[in-house]
Assembly symmetry: C2
Homo-oligomer: 637 residues x 2
């Protein structure tokens, strides 16, 4: 079947067990239906992964997918998704990373890579200009990300090769091992690194020389030019450019939303010391960005003392500063950037790492876990112990071996008191946005298919009473016309979450950075539609694109339901019903009854059963009748 505009109509299928490689051409309707990224990934996961498969086995399916917009000059499109069954949650893992890998894959003539099976020994994939090769990676096994990237480039003789790869953490099956896109961009969450490790797959190297054909190149250039000329007029983007997401530390702390000491408080006395502003004055040596994006929000840091930090591994995001800083009561910025570097070297998700360490610290302090067992003084504020524990996790030694399973699995060894202190949803540690303050996140963290996640819906601030008129107007094409307090979780707030979740689901499907997306940042919804049409030549609409987003959400939920994960597994941790302590949010907590009502309402709004499983009607409305059949066969519906 012929190639289209914005897509090659070439899906690369690699079976590592058999060593088979084939190319599928599913046709234009397929691409208009699933588009790419998370939606396309969820499609193949549901189709190919056998029900109940072990995520750390060859039966798991790993999908790597940019979208029809990738390769365009439009800022924000330099991303791609990675999708598989998560070893951390047992449900779907769908995680996006920036950088250049997605663009390079498109230029290599493929729309996505679907990887099944398990190689007999460590291998890597080499994809270039319409071809794919499975190559020996035994020399690279056990090595750190930066080194392997360099070695592969040397081996293949091209310094511009983009490498997606895992570090030792992924090889060792650390359940929160990440998947690195180069050394500065990461599919952080859900343990995708461990999935690759279990497949004996060290890396996917790509290099392409084919220009992606778009329907309206001039239109795309116009969008890019408009962005480049004006993005600084958007306050959020200019801050992002200046401080990276690290700039969020102080504002979050100011409103009492900076999770501190395992979410006991929303205020951290050391916030100033770990802020983006402080970072700029101290360790910052540069900034980097993704393909085609002038914002360059990524930090690059370096240090010689007291810790040697290699700038190859970028610098910390807000999430990392919080997770390895305020979560742990650590205000030593030098130590935090070192731990960030270690995460990126070894291939660890810094959020889950921080969540797991914070949980352990509280358990140790409360005597639930014996210090002797831990083998070091793992308490709030101790950067030294935290850093030593990172090494133990990756080495899977002693208590580190236990923590490598993630906080939730670790806690199960220590009984109810320990379990109650895990701040997680579906086994995934909370990110650094406080659901007791931004209340729609309580619903999001509990119900997002991939587990607690802060990038799956718009935050409550967009429609808060003090939100700017510009943002409030920008969100109105979604039919959201009412301002609501941050802490409300009434029906209109549930609606706000339901609607924006589908849009964020779309962003992940387009593999477009949410930092350029409406309503808060640069592009308008009209421009988003324009982007897709200019790339593909379709005459799509916000309506059709909303349904694409909803399609992704429903595919993910259907996958989870099939794997036995439904409403029964979707709860908030006890901490969310406890009041925050100190600072501006002192006393704030989630009301259990309000939350449960909101969850039931959300399910009904979304067209799901009371257990949160998509109904046949909803699936057929999205053109996903085959999914209803799948659910029926596995008795999930």
């Amino acid at each position: 079947m012929a190639e289209g505009k914005g897509f090659w109509n070439r899906i690369l299928h690699v079976d590592l067990s058999q060593g088979n490689i084939r190319v599928e051409s599913p046709g234009e309707v397929f691409f208009r239906t699933y588009i790419g990224g998370g939606c396309l990934g969820a499609y193949y996961l549901l189709k190919y992964a056998p029900p109940g498969c072990d995520p750390l086995s060859g039966e798991n399916v790993l999908v790597l997918a940019p979208s029809v917009a990738t390769g365009s000059p439009v800022p924000g499109t330099g991303r791609h998704s990675a999708v598989a069954k998560s070893p951390l949650t047992g449900g779907i893992a769908a995680s996006e990373a920036g950088g250049y890998w997605g663009m390079e894959l498109k230029r290599a003539g493929f729309d996505a890579v679907v990887i099944t099976g398990r190689a007999e020994y460590p291998v890597y994939l080499w994809i270039t200009d319409g071809r794919c090769e499975i190559r020996d990676a035994r020399p690279y096994w056990g090595k750190e990300t930066g080194e392997v990237q360099e070695l592969i480039r040397e081996e293949l003789g091209d310094g511009l090769i983009q490498v997606l790869l895992i570090g030792p953490a992924g090889e060792k099956g650390v359940r929160f091992a990440n998947l690195a896109s180069g050394t500065k961009n990461f599919h952080g969450r859900g343990g995708l690194g461990a999935v690759m490790g279990a497949k004996n797959l060290k890396a996917v190297a790509v290099r392409g020389h084919q220009e992606v054909r778009f329907a309206d190149k001039e239109g795309l250039i116009a969008l890019a030019r408009d962005f480049a000329q004006h993005f600084r007029e958007n306050a959020n983007l200019s801050t992002l450019s200046e401080y990276g997401t690290a700039g969020y530390v102080l504002p979050q702390n100011e409103v009492g939303g900076l999770p501190t000491r395992n979410f006991q408080s929303g205020s951290f006395e050391g916030a100033e010391a770990i802020s983006g502003e402080r970072l700029k004055e101290t360790y910052l040596i540069g900034q980097e960005g993704c393909y085609a994006c002038p914002v360059r929000c990524k930090r690059v840091v370096a240090s010689e003392e007291p810790y040697r930090v290699d700038p190859l591994y970028g610098g910390p995001e807000y999430e990392t500063l919080a997770a390895l800083g305020s979560y742990l009561g650590i205000d030593d910025l030098g130590a935090i950037i070192k731990m960030n570097e270690l995460c990126n070297r070894y291939g660890l998700d810094s959020i889950s790492l921080g969540g797991a360490l914070a949980w352990a610290m509280e358990c140790v302090e409360k005597g639930i876990i014996d210090r002797a067992e831990v083998g070091m003084d793992l308490v709030f504020g101790s950067a030294e112990a935290a850093m030593a524990m990172v090494e133990k996790i990756v080495a899977r030694e002693g208590f580190g071996d236990i923590l490598a399973e993630g906080a939730w699995r670790a806690a199960r060894r220590y009984g109810k008191k320990a379990l109650d202190l895990v701040v997680h949803a579906k086994g995934q540690e909370f990110p650094a946005h406080e659901p007791r303050l931004k209340r729609s996140l309580a619903l999001a963290y509990a119900t997002v298919p991939k587990g607690a996640d802060h990038c799956s819906s718009e935050h409550d601030v967009a429609i808060a009473p003090d939100a700017s008129d510009a943002i409030f107007q920008a969100i109105s094409p979604l039919g959201i016309l009412e301002r609501l307090p941050l802490t409300s979780l009434n029906a209109p707030k549930v609606r706000f979450y339901y609607i924006t979740q589908q849009m964020f689901s779309l962003y992940d499907t387009l593999a477009i950075c949410l930092f350029v997306c409406p309503p808060i940042r640069y592009f308008s919804f009209d421009q988003l539609v324009e982007l897709v049409n200019a790339a593909t030549g379709w005459n799509t609409s916000l309506l059709e694109l909303f349904w694409v987003g909803e399609r992704k959400t429903n595919l993910c939920r259907a996958f989870n339901a099939r794997e036995g994960i439904d409403a029964a597994s979707e709860a908030l941790p006890p901490r969310m019903y406890e009041p925050l302590r100190g600072g501006p949010t002192d006393g704030l907590r989630v009301d259990r009854e309000e939350f449960e009502k909101a969850m039931a309402l959300y399910f009904e709004m979304a067209g799901w059963t009371p257990k949160g499983v998509p109904t046949r009607g909803k699936l057929e409305a999205l053109g996903l009748g085959w999914v209803a059949e799948e659910l029926k066969q596995t008795r999930a519906l």
Copy 2:
């Protein structure tokens, strides 16, 4: 509260019982939420009409509403909706009419009129430039529409006054009396004329001199100019301009879709004789149109012999040619245009009239109803008897008094055999599109809240295998990417119906003519969005507008549910399960199991209970939490 762009923020409330008049200013969010037309009408009906009210009493509420687009120079916007509880179905009646009345109301400074109560004696409303007066209509009671329009204009001294009014049929409570907008445009269906009659309200006369303020007048003019210059390039519109809807007779007959002899066949041997082509050669003397529309699809006919036909009353639409022609086996065009004129003079819905007569004819022929009781030889083909019966219905004499109740109520007197021959849904006689051929209409006729209706969703032809690429491409912004045979009623066809129903629901809310709307006719979905934004200055989207349409559908369904009308009342008549006889559709029938499965799926798709009642989740998703409360209080949910 201040006026907006495209709306005055002035809803006129008239209580005929008390003689009270007041103006409400519900604000911009209200207008963006409900927009106008059918959606705004359903809102006020649900709010103001007491549950279980007698539609032929002062408790019923009649809402007359143009929209935020009315008064603009854009073709197709010269319409308005009338909404009330239907005396024919017991559910909601929501019917649109073209002409000039809606535009005139806007120019008089009002966005809608909400009429409650019942006047002590016949009155009419006189609305002009921000004022409203209740005036004596006793001199006009009993008079025909054309005469009253003239007399009111004379009384008020302005020949340009637009008059909405009823004829003797409405006064006499004929359950399918229509509501006339002038003498050539009609709110045909649902018995709205009888609602006005029961309120002792003969007419609503309007005249305005205030220019409606729009946000982007240039943008509106550009849309209008584009249409005027190019509409003839659209084959459907040029045919419409040349033959009116009368041009559909032959094509419908050709495919076996022209309902004949009470829907026993889809082929009429007299089709040629009652066609638009024949009409053009014989009685046609001109064409007319609605405000701002160059298509001028309305026929004007005249005749001296054998029947004197006054051109004041326009000419027949396709529906009338079929209902008073092929339904009855009548091929006498002169008689048909005379009966059409009588309908418009007396204020009768020609479709229900035809349906009722066709039913009676079959009953007489089959001996179910005694000829003696009928008092004339009311059999297929007898134009003379049909015409005589029209007089009897309006006079409510003899068998005419029985037929004035509509076919379904009439049939209840004669037992099951008679009832089985009524081709209706919810008591409303079928329009002239054959659900056994265009199978989605089976679902539509059965489930549309206002009863059997052919203007509530796109017909199957738009996505048929032989539909033009242009139309198929035009519908794709709705995410409809698959062609389907006319007679399929599988899940994708149900989805097609569900989606296009919401769009048609939107058209009725914008009070825009579906003859200019996508996907079949001139404007694209983008232009539709543009129209709303140019009128109002909003930044709405197809997504938000789809939800407005869905809001209207759900308000209507909620009203019906409250009135005890749900899935249990939504059935196809037995005839649909019988095969068509003769012609290209010989043997075609609806499969009962397939239909029932489709209906259940449709309800689930739409977010309704198995009884077809909107769930709280769906209502809250549409920002209609108050409706869920209403349904809960009346135990409908």
